[in-house]
């Protein structure tokens, strides 16, 4: 047993933490949140220059990390500072899929990505799919060496900024069958591609994406025809670890802010943290925070196991983070009182990040159901 980070990861953590402490204060984030693009190209380039994007990829893919704990280290820091830039969507999800399935030409994009010169989005969820990863109604029709994509993708994060959308579409099979789903690299300027963007409650932007007979060469397909489901499952598992670690980082910030407030805010002539009713609730928050940390460690540590073991730990972590996250977000706001209800105060954004994480890659209930199903196997 060894729960210490390797020296390389420790350095990665230190570098990123120091950078974010210097360059990503609350005022900077507030300005980015108010900006039309909802993200900063300068910060993005700086993260690339620091090697943060390369840390998400293995050496085979041209990076220097890519393991579960690399993801966990990076995203815990991003979550702690409330970073809104689309590292998860460009790097882990879409980038991860290119790394897993791409041919030589497609994989050449990874170097551009790691250098900060490429943004991506994973256009997968649909209005009726909820959290089912195999539910794909969007179709891909192959005619000769051309493919035509038709359908609708829901809440596609970073779609407006993306140079390519990685779009899932069905070539065969029932609407909810894992078999028959393919992925395509769709250039942002494709004819028939409509992107209707909007801001997100917890920062960043997303869009409703309509594919109205988008015509592409068949070489735009990423990986085998109809056989993308296993790679999608892996990408979603990796993304769940990243998001879990990000949520953990945000929970650490929520706990820190609450602790500071309880020790400094005075009512009835004494710090409110000296009231036992609040002190015990602070203790419960810290207990759940450590539970969350261990759940993320479990998920990261089993990322390369067989699918069932991997997903069992992912579901355990996602369900626990749904519960513990809600407790920390709500209790932090409640114990602060009115101040935490204001947009200006740091906790507001952090609490939103924690809560909104429950709405990606399956919520608490989805993962409860999946955990029970996997446990019975």
């Amino acid at each position: 047993m060894n729960f210490e980070l390797t020296q390389e990861r420790q350095m990665l953590q230190d570098t990123l933490r120091r950078f974010l402490a210097d360059r990503y204060g609350v005022a900077v984030r507030q300005e980015i949140l108010r900006s039309p693009a909802g993200q900063s190209t300068e910060i993005w380039q700086a993260l690339a220059d620091l090697g943060i994007l390369a840390a998400l990829f293995s050496e085979t893919d041209g990076g220097f990390g890519g393991g579960g704990f690399d993801l966990a280290v990076v995203f815990e820091e991003l979550g702690r500072a409330g970073v809104v830039e689309p590292v998860l969507d460009t790097g882990v999800l879409a980038g991860g899929l290119i790394a897993a399935l791409g041919d030589t030409a497609q994989r050449a994009q990874l170097e551009v990505l790691m250098g900060g010169g490429l943004q991506l989005a994973f256009a997968h969820g649909e209005p009726a799919s909820r959290y089912e990863p195999s539910w794909v109604e969007t179709t891909a029709q192959l005619t000769g060496d051309q493919v035509v994509l038709t359908g609708r993708k829901a809440v596609v994060i970073n779609a407006e900024a993306a140079d390519y959308l990685i779009v899932s579409a069905r070539e065969s099979g029932a609407v909810d069958a894992p078999e028959g789903v393919s992925l395509f690299m769709v250039p942002a300027n494709s004819t028939g591609l409509a992107v209707q963007g909007y801001p997100l409650l917890a920062g960043g932007r997303a869009a409703e994406v309509t594919l109205d007979a988008v015509q592409l060469p068949a070489t735009a397909r990423l990986g085998p025809a109809g056989g993308a489901a296993p790679a999608i499952a892996t990408a979603l598992a990796r993304a769940a670890v990243a998001l879990g670690a990000e949520t953990l980082g945000a929970m650490e910030t929520a706990a820190r802010l609450t602790r500071d407030y309880l020790m400094t805010r005075k009512q009835f002539g004494r710090p409110i943290g000296s009231f036992q009713a609040l002190a015990h609730r602070m203790s419960d928050m810290l207990i759940e925070l450590e539970q969350a940390r261990s759940a993320v460690i479990n998920a990261a540590g089993h990322l390369n196991d067989d699918d069932r073991t991997r997903d069992l730990h992912i579901s355990a972590a996602k369900n626990l983070l749904g519960r513990a996250g809600r407790l920390l977000a709500e209790e932090s706001i409640q114990m602060h009182g009115g101040i935490a209800m204001t947009q200006e105060y740091e906790l507001a954004h952090i609490a939103k990040r924690i809560m909104m994480a429950d709405h990606r890659f399956g919520d608490e209930d989805y993962h409860m159901e999946r955990f029970i199903a996997l446990s019975a196997q």
């Binding site: 009726a128 409650l201 009512q267 009835f268 009115g338 209800m341 204001t342 947009q343 809560m355 209930d365």
Partner: protein
């Protein structure tokens, strides 16, 4: 024991429903149903409609132009208003200040201010909380110093709900620094247009400018705007707070909220079926519904006692705690039901019209509402303060 409403109460409910169906503008109800922001005009319009019917001041004695309903009637009215998506009556003038003026105000103050509340000529806001005086309200620092026939007010109030619309503010101010905390406080009525007053909006975490800071710099207030006796303001403040706590359980809001969640869960698809059929979601929904069924009976038990003339005691604290927990649970269910569509900020702008679900605007700003309603357990005496009141009653003053 008889759990049913009396014939006259049922007739009253029918009368309320008929009135709402005939007089509540459809567009306004739709705005409320979808959780959209209401303008000042929306509020004014609804108040005027109610006032024309004589139902705006349902809690006022007839002598002051009110409807003088009993607690059961008020409950029926509030419940039907919520179920029909009527805007909430803005409480600051009508149900907070007015009872204080009726009990402690001079005849001149009553004659002047009360009709203006009914007509909508004055929009009142509440100047109670300060940055350093929240749960510990009596530690407030805003000072009023007598200077001839004026008080000169300096200080800052905060969390002033809808203060941006108000032309008048009722304030707790300190008039005696030397007295014990609660004994040096006075109750002042201040014109918001007086020089030296500045209103700064506070944007809440869901993006709405619902509350404000109000700053006072050498604001001159005529002495005739003092309510009651100088340094007796704390008594009036406490009296006002008991009125703030009417409809504290919010049963109508919860019933309407639960309906909205059910509509959403019937439309949202999960594995090809309505989410409402998902056993995990259904169990969450059922649990809240069962809690609400019991709580609304608790509410009615207390209301019938109040209608019989018994003052509610610690039960109103119990209702505040349980009522807000249930409302917040319902907001939590709504955000869960929306799935990925909880993520957008300006949810209204998201066009799901191509989606297979029939009326996607239902998903609306559910996450924003979830965050906004975290305030329910904070304002009007936080749930911690309410629990303290309950504990004191059962464990004694040492608590």
């Amino acid at each position: 024991m008889d759990l049913s409403y009396s014939d006259s109460e049922r007739a009253f409910r029918a009368q309320v429903v008929a009135f709402l169906k005939a007089n509540l503008p459809e567009a306004l109800a739709e705005k409320v149903r979808l959780g959209r922001a209401l303008t000042r005009q929306d509020h004014d319009d609804w108040h005027a409609i109610l006032n024309a019917q004589g139902w705006l001041a349902s809690n006022w004695p007839r002598a002051f132009g009110g409807a003088e309903w009993n607690a059961v009637q008020r409950h029926i009215f509030e419940e039907e208003c919520a179920l029909h998506h009527a805007p909430r009556i803005v409480p600051f003038g009508l149900s907070m200040l007015a009872p204080v003026l009726q009990k402690f105000g001079s005849k001149a103050q009553q004659d002047y201010w009360l009709p203006r509340i009914l007509s909508g000529e004055d929009w009142w806001c509440q100047g109670y909380s300060e940055p350093g005086a929240g749960s510990d309200l009596a530690s407030l620092k805003t000072m009023a110093v007598r200077d001839g026939d004026h008080y000169v007010v300096n200080g800052q109030k905060t969390w002033t709900t809808l203060g941006q619309y108000a032309n008048m503010i009722f304030c707790l101010v300190r008039t005696d620094k030397t007295a014990k905390q609660q004994e040096g406080i006075s109750f002042l009525l201040i014109d918001m247009n007086t020089p030296g007053i500045e209103v700064r909006p506070i944007v809440l975490l869901d993006g709405t400018p619902e509350v404000n800071e109000v700053w006072f710099t050498d604001v001159r207030v005529p002495v005739e705007n003092l309510v009651g006796t100088e340094n007796q303001g704390w008594t009036y403040a406490k009296y006002l707070l008991t009125h703030e706590r009417t409809n504290i359980a919010g049963v109508g809001f919860s019933l309407a909220g639960l309906r909205a969640v059910k509509r959403l869960a019937a439309m949202e698809r999960s594995g090809g079926k309505p989410l409402a059929q998902n056993p995990y979601f259904a169990a969450r929904l059922a649990k809240v519904e069962m809690d609400l069924m019991a709580m609304s009976t608790t509410n009615l038990r207390i209301i019938s006692r109040a209608a019989a003339g018994q003052a509610p005691g610690v039960e109103s604290s119990m209702l505040k705690v349980k009522g807000t927990i249930i409302r917040q649970e319902i907001n939590d269910l709504a955000r869960r039901a929306a799935g990925a569509y909880a993520l957008p900020f300006a949810s209204e702008a998201v066009d799901r019209s191509n989606a297979p679900t029939p009326d996607p605007s239902e998903a609306g700003p559910v996450a924003a509402q979830y965050f906004n309603n975290r305030k329910l357990s904070i304002f009007g005496g936080s749930n911690e303060i309410q629990r303290q009141i309950i504990a004191k009653t059962t464990l004694g003053a040492g608590q």
